[in-house]
């Protein structure tokens, strides 16, 4: 046996072992070191299926449902899986023509879609169509139904405040990776402001597919799946009944109503007119409806006047000037100024209406005397305390802006604008440095000229007076997921004080507002059994008939509601804005309205067709919403 050939066994064994070692080394490389194969495997065999969470419902302050979800069904297509279907029958089922079918198929095949990617074939089928289709779809491989939720608004109110949702576009998905193109996202109103709370969190299911893209169930029984976290429900501070009533009163008028609960800063009603049924911006007709609303340049129904329209505050602002002047010590309740159907020093400008003269503060408020408040404003600016007009004006401006005007209130309403309180810089530019004084800008005393406030700010001013010097930032959401102390709401729990701090000063003004109701400009608007304080106003409108303005709070003691009403091109405050405010306060405080005739007159009043409004220029941010 000691054959020399016997040694060859070592060579043979050596070769065998060497090959084995090379193979094991190679396996170590592709299995342990090189990670790319793992990724390839996941890309091939896993499909990551997004599970959409339920969007949060929205309730009013009395737990009345404002927004809920309704299931809708999208017909999806995966072109790659379509095999031998009867196109004619399919088109018949959907009620579309063959041309439409091939157009849709083409769309599904081309970027950003692809034959290997699921895309929407037909959006938002009705439940009836869905039921019909579902039974027959098995004969059309490549087509399937995916459920989604649509927003529904049972009350059909508060469209602007609630806002609407739409599909996220490319710009959005690039900015925020949470969204994929086509995901729903809040675009305006509360839907936008509280998007992150309402949307919840998407879940992810890892599904396995075979080489033919057939569903093979969830990966490892779903241990790596994440469940969607439902969106939190919101409790609005809105009173749905009051809102609906206000919208009824404001129908066929252009304008806005804002009602606030002074003690909390909670918004009770936020009305913009003309409005629209929020259900119009949902579902398959959405695009059509949106264009129709968007293109209505006379009524501009998509424009949220309550937070975005700026009007001269008019007489309301006389209250603020009265407060500032008292705080500065240049005005007391006994100060009297003459009126000659206008402001005498400037030859009767600004003009005033006939009333007895001279008046003291309370009566001046009650009669809304223009001359009186021109004198008051002049006394503030010409205050000897200050070295010059600039210093005094700066002080006045600081006081004024402490009433949360000239800048956004910081509310949780989307698309809020800040109005305007003119600055020294502005007047220097207009009149030249040092070339202007109190009489040059005397209209500021009566809330005209460059002074602009939004209806929301106007209501907040009334709220401040009702509270005698402080306010909470107005807000529309009072609880998130039943939690009133959610961190998002913390800023609404912080009291803000104005620079007018003495409550007696407020009492003097409140007395004047009370007089306005008892015997002044608002005498016709008394509510049985409720003492309230009010101020009428007429905002000059360079484009047409003056705007009717009315602010009030009620009851006089321990106020529950502060309200600001503005009706465009409606003349005196007491004509339209006053009755609407009065009726709404009655409705809110007493639950029902006794003054049926007044109510009827307001509801039936149609000012819109008479109005010759110049279309209000919309902010860019608002105009770009169309999809």
């Amino acid at each position: 046996m000691n054959n020399p050939l016997s040694d060859r066994k070592f060579i043979v064994m050596g070769v065998f072992i060497l090959v084995g070692l090379i193979y094991i080394a190679r396996l170590f490389y592709i299995q342990v070191i090189d990670e790319s194969y793992k990724l390839d495997a996941q890309n091939q065999a896993f499909r990551y299926r997004v599970e959409f969470p339920v969007r949060g419902y929205i309730y009013d302050r009395n737990q009345k449902l404002l927004v809920f979800n309704e299931a809708a069904y999208d017909l999806m297509v995966l072109p790659k899986n379509i095999k031998g279907i009867d196109t004619a029958e399919f088109c018949g089922m959907l009620g579309i023509t063959k041309e439409v079918f091939s157009k849709k198929m083409k769309k599904a095949m081309q970027p950003p879609n692809s034959p290997r990617k699921e895309s929407i074939f037909e959006k938002q089928l009705s439940p009836k169509d869905y039921a019909f289709l579902q039974e027959r779809l098995y004969r059309f491989p490549g087509f399937f139904v995916q459920s989604r939720t649509l927003r529904k608004y049972p009350q059909k109110i508060a469209a602007h405040m609630l806002g609407y949702i739409g599909e996220a576009d490319k710009a959005r998905t690039e900015k925020d990776p949470y969204y994929n193109e086509g995901d729903y996202i809040g675009i305006s109103g509360v839907e936008k402001t509280y998007e992150k709370v309402l949307r919840g969190k998407k879940g992810m299911r890892i599904m396995m597919v075979d080489v033919n893209n057939r569903d093979k169930g969830s990966y490892r029984n779903g241990i790596y799946d994440t469940l969607p976290v439902p969106g939190k429900p919101l409790t609005s501070s809105l009173d749905a009944d009051l809102q609906a009533y206000g919208e009824l009163l404001m129908q066929n008028k252009i304008g806005s109503v804002v009602a606030i609960e002074p003690q909390t800063g909670e918004i009770l009603a936020l009305i913009t007119s003309p409005s629209y049924d929020p259900n119009l911006l949902v579902g398959r007709e959405r695009t059509k409806n949106f264009s129709r609303l968007y293109l209505d340049s006379v009524r501009v129904p998509l424009f949220n006047r309550a937070t975005m329209a700026s009007y001269p505050p008019g007489s309301t602002f006389k209250l603020v000037d009265a407060l500032i002047a008292q705080q500065e010590g240049v005005l007391s309740i006994n100060t009297r100024y003459p009126c000659a159907r206008g402001y005498p020093p400037l030859g009767g400008h600004p003009k005033c209406h006939p009333h007895s003269s001279p008046l003291a503060l309370s009566d001046a408020i009650g009669h809304s005397c223009n001359s009186y408040f021109s004198f008051v404003f002049k006394s503030i600016i010409d205050n000897k305390k200050y070295d010059d007009t600039y210093e005094a004006f700066t002080a006045w401006r600081d006081y004024a802006t402490s009433f949360s005007i000239g800048k956004k209130t910081g509310s949780d309403l989307a698309n809020e604008l800040g109005g305007n309180v003119p600055s020294i810089k502005y007047y220097d530019k207009v009149f030249g440095k040092g070339s202007w004084k109190a009489s040059t800008v005397i209209s500021l005393g009566i809330g005209q000229a460059e002074l602009l406030v939004t209806p929301l700010q106007n209501a907040n001013i009334v709220s401040i007076i009702a509270n005698k010097g402080w306010y909470y930032i107005p807000h529309i959401i009072k609880a998130i997921g039943n939690d009133q102390n959610d961190s998002l709401l913390r800023r609404f729990k912080e009291k803000h004080y104005t620079m007018v701090t003495d409550t007696n000063i407020y009492n003097n003004v409140i007395q004047g507002m009370s007089d306005a109701v008892q015997s002044g400009t608002a005498a016709a608007l008394k509510i049985d059994g409720i003492d309230f304080c009010a101020k009428t106003g007429t905002a000059e409108n360079p484009h047409g008939k003056d705007h009717s303005v009315f602010v009030a709070f009620a009851p006089k003691n321990n106020p529950k509601i502060a309200i600001a009403v503005l009706v465009e091109n409606a003349g005196f405050g007491a004509a339209w804005a006053g009755p609407i405010a009065s009726l709404m306060m009655e409705k809110y405080l007493k639950g029902k309205v006794k003054r049926i005739d007044l109510e009827k007159r307001m509801v039936e009043g149609n000012l819109i067709d008479k109005a010759k409004t110049v279309p209000i220029k919309k902010k860019k941010s608002e105009t770009k919403r169309s999809r």
Binding site: R8, I17, Y37, Q44
Partner: protein
Amino acid sequence: MRQKEAASIFHNIDWVTVLLYLVLVIIGWMNIYAAVYNEEHHVITDTTQKYGKQMIWITTSFLLAFIILIIDENFYTAFAYVIFGIFLAANIAVPYLGREVKGSRSWFRFGDFGVQPAEFMKFATNLALAKFLSNQNIKIADYKNTFITLMLIGIPLIIIKVLQDETGLAIVFTAFIFTLYREGLSVNYLLLGFLAIVLFILALLINNLYLFIIIAVLCSIAVLFVKRNRKNLFIIASVGLIACGMVKGTSTVYKHLEDHQRIRIDVLLGRGTVDLKKEGYNVNQAKIAIGSGGFLGKGYLEGTQTKYDFVPEQDTDFIFCTVGEEWGFVGSTIVIVLELLLILRIIFMAERQRSPFSRIYGYGVASVLFFHLTINVGMTIGLAPVIGIPLPFFSYGGSSLWSFTILLFIFIKLDSHRLQILR
């Protein structure tokens, strides 16, 4: 007396080999179950599924093994040529008598089941080779005998390739080169073969002109370092010329290959652009499946790439992908080590035979198993061209499992009588 004989069937049997065989067969069966797992038929013995059928193949294999052990060991030596002849005839006949299924002409069909005679040609050839080379008057170095030996291997190879068009099954016969080497075939043949393979690859990868220059330079260097007598110069010159001829011949051979074979070689060597959706698909998918297994694997029945059909032929030629994906690096290594242990054990056993017949036969078994292992695993990890041959004891299929069982158990039977007289 009869009882004693029955007991002696298992007398002196190499249980290590039998155990390795059993372990491999059982692991193979489990992996087939995982590879083609069907939830609706999840019972492993369900014979409508491939894993159920494999169970039939396994039990019948055990039966075959038992029969082989019962038969007298002298039967194999005595009838070696007869067996060779019978199976050769079967292989010649099958293209004409067998039913063509899916373009393959290498199957005899009996109802649902098919038998592939080419699989059985392996042990038959091995028997004939052992019989011929164990003749005491035979010296393999003799040209005439070398020729006859090459005929014994070459005829089945050519028949299976040409008549049945089964490249994979045919190419296996080249594995006997290891047997021949052990029995005294000149190393020169092996070196020449090795040179041919290296040059074939190089010729496809490098510009032929450069290759000629390199050969010339190497020959010149060789001349500088050896004794410059006539013989050495002749050898160097002829090797250089043969090498150049091989390089030149490569392009000719390459041109005459079938398209799919040329593509497989291109894929292996990474020549040109490989479309992973077409010609590169199989190998790429195999690598993805194995690579995604990681160190410990995804776990039994948790594989996605094989179970969900991304890997083609995942139960037969690409069964190793299931091992790699579900058992990871650890499992793959264990399987390779087990197969290698069996092969090395067979060589160890072959070397302890007194009878040359048994030794030669043993080497044949080891060579065939090694060839299958190398090609089958190599193609799934991109180290060998895609040649459709099964992984011994693992891949699904009756013919291959039967054939490997017969191949192995004849040797176990021969080995159990190693202490008896010389054959």
